[in-house]
């Protein structure tokens, strides 16, 4: 949990540059990113495959892959992970990912259904937009193994997500981390539910 947990924080826990920090004015003055040492500075984000610590730098494939910074240059910026807002990139038509591994003609079955989950406390309610998820994923990626497709049948908590269950199967690993609270907790409690309230 340590690496993942720290990555979550690094990914967006300290989003507000003006937020109160533990030693105000000291570290911030020297380095705007110092209060979050684990968030990589822009120059160190998305290194080429030969230097990313994932690919074998001696492998032929690593050298032939297009460096992410080059391929990402025209895509909308995000706050974490590889710093691309993939949902926006897809929505804006910047990318047209193939939906099926084998058949290039398959279109996704997009479901435009929002699930609003009320939560206690000061956090806004959660909006789960099926649309943005089904544009990328097949229903079977989540149902029924992770989420039973039945109202009230799924017990979801932040604890379970942080333990890598439910939403945490993807979020914090290959999708934006849970520390980007407002992307899910996006419906103010005094507003009516509406499709326009969906996360980006």
């Amino acid at each position: 949990m340590t690496r993942t947990g720290l990555a979550l924080l690094a990914g967006g826990l300290f989003l507000s540059a003006t937020a109160l920090v533990w030693s105000p004015g000291v570290a911030v003055a020297q380095d705007p990113n110092a209060f979050n040492r684990l968030m990589k500075p822009p120059a160190k984000r998305n290194p080429p495959p030969t230097a990313d610590g994932i690919h074998d730098p001696a492998g032929i494939g690593a050298k032939t892959l297009q460096p992410p910074r080059e391929s990402f240059s025209s895509l909308p910026a995000g706050n974490s992970g590889n710093y691309i807002d993939w949902v926006k990139a897809l929505g804006d038509g910047k990318i047209t990912p193939r939906y099926d591994r084998v058949n290039p003609d398959v279109d996704p079955i997009v479901m435009d259904l929002n699930i609003v989950r009320e939560v206690k406390g000061s956090m806004p309610d959660v909006v789960y937009p099926h649309k943005q998820h089904t544009e990328w994923l097949d229903c079977s990626n989540c149902h029924p193994a992770i989420f039973i497709p039945q109202k009230g049948a799924n017990n979801i908590s932040m604890a379970s997500i942080l333990l890598g269950e439910k939403c945490g199967v993807c979020h914090g690993k290959v999708a934006f981390p849970v520390a980007e609270c407002r992307r899910c907790h996006s419906r103010a409690k005094d507003k009516p539910a509406a499709a326009a309230d969906t996360a980006r």
């Binding site: 089904t134 097949d138 079977s140």
Partner: protein
């Protein structure tokens, strides 16, 4: 309609490919310098190649097949491994790397030439059964939606007899171990159900209200919420490990929450559920404050 293959969509899997041997990532290698790291990576690659070219399963499959080309390709892959190993032993790492790369490409080609039918059949069977369960689960979901909406037009979105027919035929194919056809049928059924469900739910918003059947349920929810915040604060604590001032504030909040939680547990034992809930809410708010102070925006 194009046949859907029901793998993870390409977009979702491209970022998951990891090709580097595990040893390459070990901390001692990182600190020992690039030469040693490269040598260990090469050594791992050779070990992998050795395991692949002499793997019992692959050798058995190739030997049992009457594919002369596959036999020749396997022999070549084994030869490349020997050449790579010999080069590595003499310190010619560049040659070893080249032979190993060629060998891995060769053994991959062999594996594709002689398909492991037993394994593929087993995987297809599992895939078929998963898909069938999913179709049944989505069909039930659709029926619940149709019932909830009380609308004939919605009910008519799903061609249920066709789904039943496809599932029945799929079962017949599966009974004959013909999973290719079984999967094709069940995939078609799945498309029908998912499309109908997507249309039935189009632009809907479902509200999961926060209602508790009993105060005990609410207490249980509060316990879980408090635990969630504790986990977030634990992460923050690690982040602030080298900041004594920050750490002190966090630990103070954690201690305060622990004390409040114990009080809540005591109240619960005495049967004062409402008061216990209230105390837990206060504890959670204590943790929320420390998270906000750290810059978490909520």
């Amino acid at each position: 309609m194009p046949v859907r293959t029901r793998h993870w969509p390409l977009a979702a899997i491209v970022s998951l490919v990891v090709v580097m041997p595990a040893q390459h990532l070990t901390a001692d290698v990182e600190t020992a310098g690039p030469d040693l790291a490269a040598m260990r990576a090469l050594s791992s690659k050779l070990q992998l190649l050795g395991r692949l070219v002499h793997g019992e399963d692959l050798v058995r499959r190739v030997t049992a097949s009457d594919d002369e080309e596959a036999r020749r390709a396997l022999a070549r892959a084994q030869e490349l491994w020997q050449l790579a190993d010999a080069s590595f032993a003499t310190g010619d790492n560049e040659a070893a790397g080249n032979y190993a790369g060629e060998g891995l490409a060769a053994v991959t080609a062999v594996s594709r030439m002689v398909v492991d039918t037993r394994r593929r059949n087993s995987e297809d069977k599992a895939r078929y059964e998963t898909m069938r369960k999913r179709v049944l689960s989505f069909t039930e979901a659709f029926q619940r939606v149709a019932l909830e909406k009380q609308d004939r037009a919605v009910a008519g979105l799903l061609n249920q007899p066709e789904v039943t027919r496809l599932l029945g035929e799929a079962e017949q194919y599966a009974a004959r171990d013909d999973y290719a056809h079984a999967i094709e049928h069940v995939t078609h059924a799945s498309d029908l159900v998912e499309t109908a469900l997507a249309k039935a739910r189009d632009r809907d918003t479902l509200l999961h209200e926060l209602k508790f059947d009993t105060p005990e349920d609410e207490y249980s929810y509060e316990e879980q919420r408090n635990m969630s915040y504790r986990m977030l604060v634990e992460i923050l604590e690690r982040e602030k490990a080298d900041n004594p001032e920050g750490l002190a504030s966090i630990r103070k909040a954690v201690e305060e929450n622990t004390r409040i939680r114990e009080e809540a547990e005591g109240l619960m034992k005495r049967g004062d559920v409402r008061a216990a809930i209230g105390r837990l809410e206060e504890g959670t708010e204590t943790l929320a404050r420390v998270l906000r102070m750290s810059g978490l925006v909520f």
